[in-house]
């Protein structure tokens, strides 16, 4: 049994959200720079240059690259040999979020209740926590700051098995085409295929937090990722939606076993400001 104090989790969660909001990953920066070279639209190239410059300034001056510093999502992958001490793990994660957003000049965007008063909680808590237990004595923490311009453009559909590969392709392209300029393209498109209703959505969200250099290990799904990326870039939406061929930076697919009667597909859209950071305890 390995003991980990929850205060350590608080400190790490805080640092991860500060980093995610200030610093866009090298993988995204490289892809944006690379796509600026091939983007045929002059206005599209201007937009990509503006985004690159913005992200350089954010990292240099430690400022939020986007004013929508997001809803805080935390994926905890916990080794079952770990014993947390010193208080509630859930409260410790929320405390990390609270400290990052109040001390780091990040916007507080969470309302306590969705329908009636919609009163702001004032510290960006509570965050959304997803826990998975695995063998071992390590804890992996992935922090995603999820903006809602892109979250609002995400969709889920329960396809029938007979709709198959073509049905999945049609649905993913439809979601991105309907979103058009709204989610701040170029996008990272997370696709969850299989599982149950809620698992497909969870996989799609997890997919948006993968590095752009990562591809599905199954060559058939990797080919599907590439085909979808090409298809999305052929939609013409372009950077900021002003028209162009740079609409997707990457399509990530995560799959799970599913029911004989079902083919759930969830598409979670993430803007070019793909803000996530992770650490291992």
């Amino acid at each position: 049994m390995r003991e980990i104090r929850v205060s350590e989790v608080t400190n790490i969660v805080k640092e991860l959200f500060l980093k995610a909001n200030y610093v866009i990953g090298e993988d995204v920066m490289e892809k944006l720079a690379c796509m600026r070279e091939t983007e045929p639209s002059p206005l599209g190239r201007t937009v990509l240059s503006q985004i690159l410059e913005n992200n350089r300034l954010g990292a240099k001056e430690e400022l939020a690259v986007c004013q929508d510093t997001g809803m805080s999502i935390v994926f905890l992958t916990i080794g079952q040999e770990v014993h947390f001490t010193g208080g509630s793990l859930e409260e410790a994660v929320n405390e990390g979020v609270r400290q990052a957003y109040t001390e780091g000049y990040l916007r507080k965007s969470i309302v306590a209740e969705p329908l009636f008063e919609r009163k702001n909680t004032g510290d960006n808590t509570p965050c959304v926590i997803h826990v998975r237990l695995v063998p071992g004595d390590k804890v992996h923490i992935l922090a995603i700051a999820k903006g809602f311009g892109s979250e609002n453009m995400s969709q889920l559909k329960m396809l029938t098995p007979s709709e198959g590969i073509e049905g999945v392709k049609r649905f993913v392209l439809k979601v991105v085409e309907e979103a058009g300029p709204n989610p701040c393209p170029p996008l990272v498109v997370g696709v969850g295929i299989g599982g149950s209703f809620e698992l497909s959505a969870l996989m799609a969200k997890r997919a948006t937090g993968l590095p752009l250099t990562r591809h599905n290990k199954d060559s058939r799904y990797r080919a599907l990722e590439e085909e979808l990326e090409k298809g999305i870039n052929a939609l013409g939406i372009g950077p900021a939606g002003y028209g162009g061929r740079t609409t997707a930076l990457k399509v990530h697919i995560i799959t799970a076993p599913t029911h004989i009667a079902g083919l759930p597909v969830a598409v979670n859209i993430c803007c070019h400001a793909a803000r996530h950071a992770d650490d291992l305890i």
């Binding site: 000049y105 090409k230 939606g241």
Partner: protein, 184 residues
């Protein structure tokens, strides 16, 4: 790149065309969902608004808090379509410009043509860069709304693109059509 003064004058409004790259200098008021809801409730009751909107430009933004030494925190545009339900009555009161990102609804675009107004797109997610062009910021109404309060910004060379002009031409549709390729 055209340099444009805000508030907009009639001549400029009709000269600006979808796709024009502009640098905006002058005064803008910020408002998002919550402030729009209050403004339109006042209009419906026939009560005066806390700001004079006639001739003005609204920037759809909820800025991040300012770090010490900064005029404002990160301040990029939010999605404009959420304001569609509130915008036609504001246009009828004389609102002449909006700055945001993403599509507008058909009712907003129709009211823009009727009233003569321009919609500028700023690049979503370039919030640090845009904040550099905001020289002064103060809350002028609804301080209880926090980031969603109405601020008055003095901006200098804020980079934007005309996305919908006063004739109703729409860059999003035209640009997408131009670069769309055959389906896979």
């Amino acid at each position: 790149m055209k340099k444009i003064r805000l508030p907009l004058d009639e001549k400029t409004i009709h000269e600006l065309k979808a796709g024009d790259e502009v640098l905006l200098t002058g005064t803008v008021y910020t408002a998002r969902d919550a402030a729009h809801k209050r403004l339109v409730a006042l209009i419906e009751k026939g009560e005066p608004l806390p700001i004079e909107l006639s001739g003005q430009t609204i920037y759809y933004v909820g800025p991040a808090p300012a770090k010490p030494g900064y005029a404002i925190g990160s301040a990029g545009p939010t999605s404009s379509y959420r304001m569609d339900i509130y915008t036609p009555p504001l246009l009828k009161l004389g609102l002449k410009g909006m700055i945001g990102k993403g599509r507008l609804g058909p009712n907003t675009m129709k009211a823009m043509v009727e009233c003569g107004a321009v919609y500028f797109g700023a690049v979503g997610g370039s919030a640090v860069l845009i904040s550099k062009s905001i020289k002064k910021a103060e809350v002028v109404a609804y301080p209880d709304l926090g980031a969603e309060a109405i601020h008055r910004f003095e901006v200098e060379d804020l980079p934007a693109v005309v996305c919908v002009d006063a004739d109703g031409r729409n860059l999003y549709n035209e640009g997408t059509k131009l670069y769309k390729q055959a389906a896979l």
